[in-house]
C-alpha cells in the first residue's frame, strides 16, 4: 500500500539557515483506480502528476517535506473506504486526492469528514459531492456532472443544435446526466424531442440508434459513460448517423475514450472538458514532463486536477505554518486563498467545496486535421468560470443553506 518517496528531506535540513522557515511535514495519498475501468483517466498518471506537483513545490519551499503514497481502490467503495480509514488512522495521511468512481469518492468523503482530514476529488464526476452530500473536508476540483451537462447542453444549443434526442444509460448516473442536460437545453431555448433508456453495458446499440435516427433530432446526447459511450459512437458511425447530418454530443467523454475510438470514428463528436494538454505552451511543456513517466500516453484533465489540487493544498499548509492536523481549518484556509497554478490559472474555491474555473467545448478533429499523435480537439467555445458550474444556491449543500 505504500510506495514511499521521500523528497527534499536533505535539502530541507541543509537549508534551514533561516529560522523563520518552519519545517513542514506532509503526507499525501493518491487513491485511484490502478487496474480497471478508470486506470487510464486517473491511476498511475495521477501518481505521476502528484510527484510533479510535489517536486515543483518543494523546489521553491525547501522547508516542506512531502511523503507520497498511493493505493488502488479497484473501483470498490468498501476497499476505498477501508484504505482511507487505514491511511488516516494508521499511516497518518493528511490528504487523499483523485479517486475516480463516484461511489468510492462519496465513501472516502464520508471518512475524511469523520476523521477531520482532507479529501480533494479530481477523478469523480458526481455533483452531489458539492451538493446535498457536501462536507467541510472535501474539495471537488476538476469537473462534475452538472458542469458537463450544462456546458455541452448550453453551448451546443447556442451553436445551432436546438433539437435533442437522448440515449441514456438506465441508472442513477445516466438519469442525472440526462436531467441536467435537458434542463440546460431547454433553458437555452432548445427542445428535447425524445429519449431512450438503455441498460448499462449494452453491446448492441443499433436498435437505439435507429430510434434516435428516426427522431430527426439535430443532436443525439449520449448520457452514458465508458464502454457504452464508445459502443454508441462506434455504431453511430457505422449507421452513418453523423454523415446523415445529426451530431453526437458526448456528456462524459475523456481524451482516452477518443483515443480508443480513433479519429475516423470519433470525428465530429462534441464534448466538454476543463483542461486539454494541447491548449497552450504551458500545458504542452507540462505534458512533456509528465510523459517522461507515462510514455506514449496523454494526460487527462483529471491528472491536471491532481497537480493543481496538491499545489494549492501545499500553499495552504505553508500559510498555516505546517499546522495541518485540523482538516476543516485547512480546507477553510484553501477556500479563503485564491487559487493560482500553471494549469488552471487563477480561480477560487467556493463555500460548498467547488473549485471554479472555465470549461471548454471541444470538437473532435477530422483525421485530416490532426497533425501529430494526441492532436484530438479543436475548441468550439469557452464557458467562463462563473457560468461553467452549478450556481452555489442551487446545489442544496448544507454548508451553504445552513
Amino acid at each position: 500500500m505504500r510506495k514511499t518517496l521521500g523528497l527534499a528531506a536533505l535539502a530541507a535540513v541543509l537549508a534551514c539557515g533561516g529560522a523563520s522557515a518552519q519545517q513542514v511535514n506532509i503526507k499525501i495519498g493518491v487513491l485511484s483506480d490502478m487496474s480497471s475501468l478508470y486506470a487510464d483517466i486517473g491511476g498511475p498518471g495521477s501518481v505521476a502528476a502528484a510527484k510533479m506537483a510535489i517536486a515543483d513545490f518543494t523546489k521553491d519551499n525547501p522547508n516542506v517535506k512531502v511523503e507520497l503514497i498511493s493505493g488502488d481502490h479497484q473501483n470498490k467503495p468498501d476497499i476505498g473506504s477501508q484504505i482511507a480509514n487505514q491511511w488516516f488512522d494508521v499511516d497518518k495521511v493528511d490528504l487523499i486526492i483523485d479517486t475516480p468512481n463516484s461511489g468510492v469518492a462519496l465513501a472516502v468523503s464520508q471518512v475524511a469528514s469523520q476523521k477531520n482530514k482532507i479529501f480533494i476529488v479530481s477523478g469523480a464526476a458526481a455533483s452531489d459531492l458539492t451538493g446535498p452530500k457536501c462536507n467541510a473536508n472535501t474539495i471537488h476540483w476538476t469537473y462534475d456532472t452538472w458542469m458537463l451537462a450544462n456546458g455541452t447542453g448550453t453551448a451546443i444549443v447556442k451553436t445551432g443544435g436546438d433539437t435533442w434526442f437522448f440515449l441514456t444509460s438506465d441508472y442513477a448516473f445516466g438519469h442525472a446526466l440526462e436531467r441536467d442536460t435537458m434542463a440546460a437545453v431547454e433553458k437555452a431555448g432548445g427542445k428535447v424531442v425524445g429519449k431512450v433508456r438503455h441498460p448499462l453495458n449494452t453491446n448492441d446499440f443499433s436498435s437505439f440508434l435507429l430510434q434516435a435516427q428516426s427522431s430527426k433530432a439535430k443532436v443525439i446526447g449520449l448520457a452514458n459513460a465508458g464502454g457504452d459511450t464508445i459502443n454508441s459512437i462506434k455504431q453511430a458511425a457505422e449507421f452513418g448517423i453523423v454523415k446523415g447530418g445529426q451530431s453526437l454530443a458526448g456528456l462524459l467523454v475523456f481524451a482516452s475514450d477518443v483515443a480508443a475510438l480513433g479519429l475516423p470514428t470519433a470525428q465530429g463528436l462534441v464534448l466538454t472538458e476543463t483542461w486539454y494538454w494541447d491548449m497552450n505552451d504551458v500545458n504542452r511543456a507540462w505534458t512533456k514532463r509528465w510523459q517522461q513517466e507515462r510514455q506514449g500516453k496523454f494526460p487527462t484533465m483529471i491528472h491536471a486536477g491532481v497537480y493543481a489540487g496538491i499545489t494549492h493544498y501545499l500553499k495552504a499548509a505553508v500559510a498555516l505554518k505546517g499546522n495541518v492536523s485540523d482538516g476543516k481549518a485547512v480546507v477553510a484556509q484553501m477556500k479563503s486563498m485564491p487559487t493560482d497554478d500553471p494549469l488552471f490559472g487563477k480561480g477560487t474555491i467556493r463555500a460548498d467545496g467547488r473549485k471554479v474555473h472555465p470549461a471548454y467545448l471541444f470538437e473532435v478533429k477530422k483525421p485530416a486535421e490532426s497533425k501529430y499523435p494526441g492532436d484530438f480537439y479543436k475548441v468550439r467555445a469557452t464557458i467562463p468560470a462563473d457560468e461553467a458550474f452549478r450556481p452555489l444556491k442551487e446545489g442544496n449543500c448544507p454548508l451553504v443553506t445552513g
Binding site: 490502478m34 488502488d72 477501508q82 462519496l106
Partner: protein, 322 residues
C-alpha cells in the same frame, strides 16, 4: 493462520479426537485478542467475508452444489440492511434482520429454480439469476446506482449501545460471526447434514432410500443464502455503505476463490481462505494492476495442484478433521 497450526502439531494423539474443538478455541481466542494488534475495521470486514464463505461452503462442500451467484444474497442483504438503517431508521439488529430476510426470500426463489438442474447447469443458472438481480440493483432507484447507499448510520444496538465505538462494533460482529459459524457446524453434524452429505455422494441412492432430495437441497440452499445474507447485512452496517460491488459477479467468483483456497468441505477452510484472500488484496493494492491475474493464477493452481485447499491439505497431513 499459523496460530491454528503450531500448537496442534505437537500433540498428535489428543489432537485427533478433539481437533475441531481445539481449532475452534484457538480461533475464538485469536479473534478475541486480534483487534488489539491489528486494525479492527479490517478484521470486521474479514469476519463478514469469512461467514459469507462458510455459508457458501455449506452448499458446495456438503451438498456438492456449486453456486456461482452467491453475490446475489450477500449484496441484496447488504442493500436492504443499509436502506433499513438509513431510510427507515431501524436499529442495527433490525436492519441486519431485514437484510437477512431479503436474502432468505431471494434464496427461496432462486433456489427453487436452480435445483431443477444439476452440476454445471446449476452453476450457470445461479450465475445468470444473480446477474439478472445485479441489473435490477443497478436500475432500481433505492440502491443509488453507482454511488451505492452511503453514510449508513451504525446506530445504537437495541437502542442502547453506541456502535460508533469501534470495539463495541467489533464485539457485535464477532458474536454474529461465531453464532453463524456454530450454526453451520451444527447443521453439518445434524441428521439433516448427514442426508445432505449422502446426496453429495450419490443422489440417486439417497432418492432410492426414500429421501425427497430436492426438498433437502432447497432447504440447504435457502440456509446458505440466508447466512450469506447475514454476512452481507452486517458488512453494510460495519462499513456504513452498500454498493454494486457486492452484487456483481466478480464477488460471486471471489467467494468461490476464498472457499477453494481454504478448502472445500472443511469447517475452517472458508474462514482461512477469506482471511488469506483479503490480506492478499490489501498487500497487493500497490501493484493493483496484477490483482486479477494473481487471483486467476491462484484459481488455476488450486484446481491443478491442491484441490483440498490450505486447511484440507493440512488436515490430510495431520490426519485430523478441521
Amino acid at each position: 493462520m499459523e496460530r491454528v497450526v503450531d500448537p496442534l502439531a505437537k500433540k498428535p494423539s489428543a489432537l485427533r479426537a478433539y481437533s475441531e474443538t481445539i481449532a475452534f478455541v484457538v480461533m475464538v481466542v485469536a479473534l478475541g485478542v486480534a483487534p488489539f494488534f491489528t486494525y479492527p475495521l479490517f478484521l470486521m470486514q474479514a469476519m463478514c467475508f469469512a461467514l459469507f464463505a462458510c455459508a457458501f461452503n455449506l452448499l458446495i462442500g456438503y451438498v456438492g452444489l456449486l453456486s456461482f451467484g452467491h453475490a446475489l444474497y450477500f449484496g441484496w442483504a447488504s442493500y436492504l440492511s443499509a436502506y433499513a438503517a438509513k431510510v427507515w431508521g431501524l436499529t442495527p439488529e433490525l436492519a441486519i434482520l431485514t437484510g437477512t430476510a431479503t436474502a432468505a426470500i431471494c434464496g427461496l426463489l432462486a433456489g427453487s429454480l436452480a435445483i431443477r438442474r444439476q452440476g454445471i447447469y446449476f452453476a450457470m443458472i445461479t450465475l445468470a439469476l444473480a446477474q439478472m438481480m445485479y441489473f435490477f440493483a443497478l436500475q432500481a432507484k433505492f440502491t443509488g446506482g453507482e454511488d451505492g447507499i452511503q453514510a449508513v448510520p451504525r446506530g445504537y444496538l437495541f437502542g442502547l449501545i453506541d456502535l460508533r465505538n469501534e470495539m463495541a462494533m467489533y464485539a457485535v460482529v464477532l458474536v454474529i460471526f461465531l453464532a453463524g459459524f456454530t450454526f453451520i457446524y451444527r447443521i453439518i453434524h445434524s441428521p439433516f447434514g448427514e442426508v445432505l452429505k449422502a446426496i453429495r455422494e450419490n443422489e440417486a441412492r439417497a432418492t432410492s432410500l426414500g429421501y425427497k432430495t430436492d426438498r433437502y437441497k432447497l432447504v440447504a440452499f435457502v440456509l446458505s443464502a440466508t447466512l450469506a445474507g447475514v454476512a452481507g447485512a452486517t458488512k453494510a452496517i460495519v462499513l456504513q455503505l452498500a454498493s454494486l460491488t457486492d452484487v456483481n459477479w466478480p464477488m460471486s467468483g471471489e467467494v468461490v476463490l476464498m472457499t477453494l483456497v481454504g478448502g472445500l468441505g472443511t469447517i475452517f477452510g472458508p474462514m482461512v481462505g477469506a482471511f488469506v484472500i483479503l490480506v492478499m488484496q490489501f498487500k497487493l493494492a500497490p501493484i493493483g494492476e496484477w490483482v486479477l491475474v494473481i487471483q486467476g493464477a491462484i484459481f488455476v493452481a488450486c484446481v491443478l495442484l491442491f484441490r483440498r485447499g490450505i486447511v484440507g491439505e493440512l488436515a490430510n497431513k495431520l490426519r485430523i478433521r478441521l
